[in-house]
């Protein structure tokens, strides 16, 4: 079965006064129909940029996709015309953003923002679009949807707005939804509401979902597969269980160790990753993580490890991937 989305050797760079930021550097991955894929990483690792690159939403200047291919349902999104990509945006691939407070236009009514998309993509009449908008709002758990159509975003709380965003994303029956940190700005109880809703709806409608997040807990709860990014590169990919129980990259390992966990005894000391993330304008020919890596060897300074499959769809980019299980046990 062909993959829904295949990203190959994607490179996105930002040309700033401080230099070229290699935000996404030779990243390849794919998404299958209906699955939920999580992209995990810390801020600035390129996870959002890689998602935005798919829909060519990187603002130029300063950002630009400089290489690679993105095949979606047989088409390379990076080469289709501006008109064609517009027929894909919101129609076949839609996005949910991090900031529900600012992602909706404050001066347009909720109804208009919902219906204009459907009118535009599905050619629905205003009446039909309104009807569907009411259904969608009800579907995402907004009470009294008819009344909401005439309201403006500021009438709604953050959680409600994110529900509207989800309704918007679902409005044209997309094949894929990209959710970029969809719950980061929300309180923990609301976060749970939203995530449950997304999970339920995507399963039900068979929509594939890419969740971009830094929260390892969310990933564990909702994702089928997990991609871990660091400094613009994919460093580990695999089933959620593999990533959490058998991490092969020292960074993944460190990440897991540095999070306090509710299910573990209190008072245990955390094991942080030392140092700071690298400056993306000054990457060299070595592994970007080596300065913070407990297991770094000479080779790490000279050669960039590429992503290697270790079996079962589990890949990792580390020169010492083979030894990592032993090293992990030893430390």
């Amino acid at each position: 079965m062909p993959k829904l989305l295949e990203v190959k050797n994607l490179k996105t760079q930002f040309f700033t006064s401080a230099g070229v930021v290699r935000a996404v550097d030779d990243v390849s991955y794919d998404v299958e129909e209906g699955e939920t894929l999580a992209v995990v990483g810390e801020s600035g690792c390129g996870k959002s940029v890689s998602a935005m690159s798919i829909l060519r939403l990187i603002p130029w200047p300063p950002g630009k996709v400089v290489g690679g291919t993105i095949h979606f349902m047989g088409e390379d999104l990076l080469t289709v015309s501006e008109d064609e990509i517009r027929t894909i945006r919101g129609r076949k691939i839609s996005m949910v953003f991090q900031e529900p407070m600012t992602s909706l236009n404050p001066v347009l009514s909720i109804g208009l923002q919902l219906t204009e998309t459907m009118q535009h993509h599905l050619g629905l009449s205003l009446e039909a679009a309104n009807k569907r908008a009411v259904e969608l709002l009800a579907r995402v758990g907004i009470a009294d949807p008819e009344r909401r159509l005439d309201q403006y975003p500021h009438h709604l709380s953050g959680g409600m707005r994110q529900r509207v965003m989800i309704a918007l994303a679902l409005s044209c029956d997309p094949k894929l939804i990209i959710a970029d940190e969809p719950t980061t700005a929300l309180d923990v109880t609301i976060q749970a509401q939203i995530l449950e809703l997304m999970k339920e709806l995507t399963r039900e409608l068979g929509v594939a979902l890419i969740v971009i997040t830094h929260n390892l807990g969310i990933v564990a709860r909702y994702a089928d597969r997990v991609n871990v990014m660091y400094a613009g590169k994919m460093i580990e990919m695999g089933q959620a269980k593999q990533i959490y129980h058998d991490p092969l990259h020292p960074y993944t390992l460190g990440l897991l160790a540095s999070v306090p966990r509710m299910d573990q005894p209190r008072g245990e000391r955390l094991v942080p990753i030392i140092g700071q993330p690298p400056d993306l304008t000054r990457l060299d020919d070595g592994c970007a993580f080596r300065a913070r890596c407990r297991f770094a060897i000479d080779r790490c300074s000279n050669e960039i490890p590429s992503l290697q499959e270790t079996g079962d769809g589990h890949s990792v980019a580390c020169w010492r991937a083979n030894e990592i299980r032993d090293l992990r046990a030893a430390s």
């Binding site: 807990g217 509710m262 209190r266 000391r269 955390l270 094991v271 942080p272």
Partner: protein, 342 residues
């Protein structure tokens, strides 16, 4: 309503009876007026950010204060710091009521109570070098008069916080978030405080950095015998660092207990919902958890619900919750909860 603290550091047990408790909050209220009018400003409503809460902190302990945004936890911290003048209630720091002190009398108190803010980007003055930022409080308070010694102390503070002394010549924007937060901590330490309020001190940091800072805070507490009020919304971090934890909802304290007690036996329905909502970074564990989602949203603090403020969202709510404000009670030693249904 005031609670005796559950755990006392051994060194202070003996004097506890004679000495008033380290910090005691009594029935603290902070109402922000909503005014209307031009020349004569008329108060038409209040935002009840903090609506009568009481607790105490013993010397050397860490009290975690959790709740969702807008629950008033940050306001509590600001009231203790006297950045806001509270509407009512007392804040007793080592027996002195801070709410009664004027700006001048507060100066020596400010040396003893310090704060670490959430945002490492906005809590440092971007126009000041790190060195002068750390030296400034010492100079102003006349703690170290000799500039050389002051520089030595700055270097020491930086080292203590895990930063190279070379950073004292740097401006904040030349540093990463984690490094800046360390500077924030160093600044808080500059006056040799006894008590530090950590207002979401690690929330804005990436996970790998967060752990570094949490470890640093723990080390410093041990090293300098500090007392923390640790305000945060991230339950797993609070659980990790706190001796006791207080849970706030809409300006009210709903539950307060020792760390293990609270997380092992959450009693208030809100605390339970909060704990349920926190995902655990382990797919195995997660797949076995029941995901009970708390419905609804937090009401406006300008017009809070009658009776128990949590009743509109509470799965246990009964009719009486609508009218009567639940009285807090101690359900086991040191475990205090404000719910009539548990």
């Amino acid at each position: 309503m005031t609670l005796a603290t559950e755990r006392q550091p051994s060194s202070e047990v003996g004097v506890q009876a004679a000495e008033p408790s380290f910090l005691e909050i009594r029935d603290l209220k902070m109402y922000f007026p909503v005014t209307e009018g031009t020349v004569h400003q008329k108060v038409v409503a209040h935002v009840k950010a903090v609506d009568g809460i009481s607790f105490s902190i013993a010397r050397g302990e860490t009290l975690g204060l959790v709740g969702e945004s807008g629950c008033g936890k940050t306001t509590v911290g600001r009231c203790i710091l006297q950045l806001e003048r509270s509407t009512d209630g007392q804040i007793l720091f080592k027996g002195r009521d801070l709410t009664q002190l004027d700006q001048k009398a507060l100066v020596p108190v400010r040396e003893k109570i310090q704060v670490i803010f959430q945002d490492p980007y906005s809590s440092l003055n971007p126009r000041m070098k790190i060195g002068s930022m750390l030296a400034e409080p010492m100079r102003v308070h006349g703690i170290i008069k000799d500039p050389k010694q002051r520089q030595a102390r700055v270097n020491e503070l930086l080292s203590v916080c895990g930063l190279d002394p070379k950073f004292s010549d740097r401006y904040p924007h030349e540093m990463s978030g984690g490094q800046r937060q360390r500077v924030g901590i160093a600044r808080a330490l500059a006056l040799n405080p006894e008590f530090i309020i950590c207002d979401e001190a690690v929330s804005a940091l990436d996970v790998s950095i967060q752990a570094q800072v949490i470890n640093l805070l723990e080390d410093l507490r041990r090293q300098f015998n500090l007392t923390y009020l640790f305000i945060a919304h991230d339950l797993s971090v609070v659980r990790h660092i706190s001796d006791r934890v207080a849970v706030m909802y809409l300006g009210n304290l709903v539950e307060l207990a020792g760390g293990d007690e609270l997380f092992d036996r959450p009693t208030h329905p809100y605390t339970r919902a909060l704990l349920d909502a926190v995902p655990i970074p382990d797919p195995e564990v997660e797949s076995h958890r029941a995901h009970k989602v708390l419905q609804g949203e937090v009401p406006s603090p300008m017009n809070p619900p009658s009776g128990c403020v949590f009743h509109p969202r509470c799965p246990l709510a009964v009719d009486s919750c609508r009218v009567s404000v639940p009285q807090g009670r101690e359900i086991s030693p040191g475990h205090w909860v404000a719910c009539s249904q548990v």
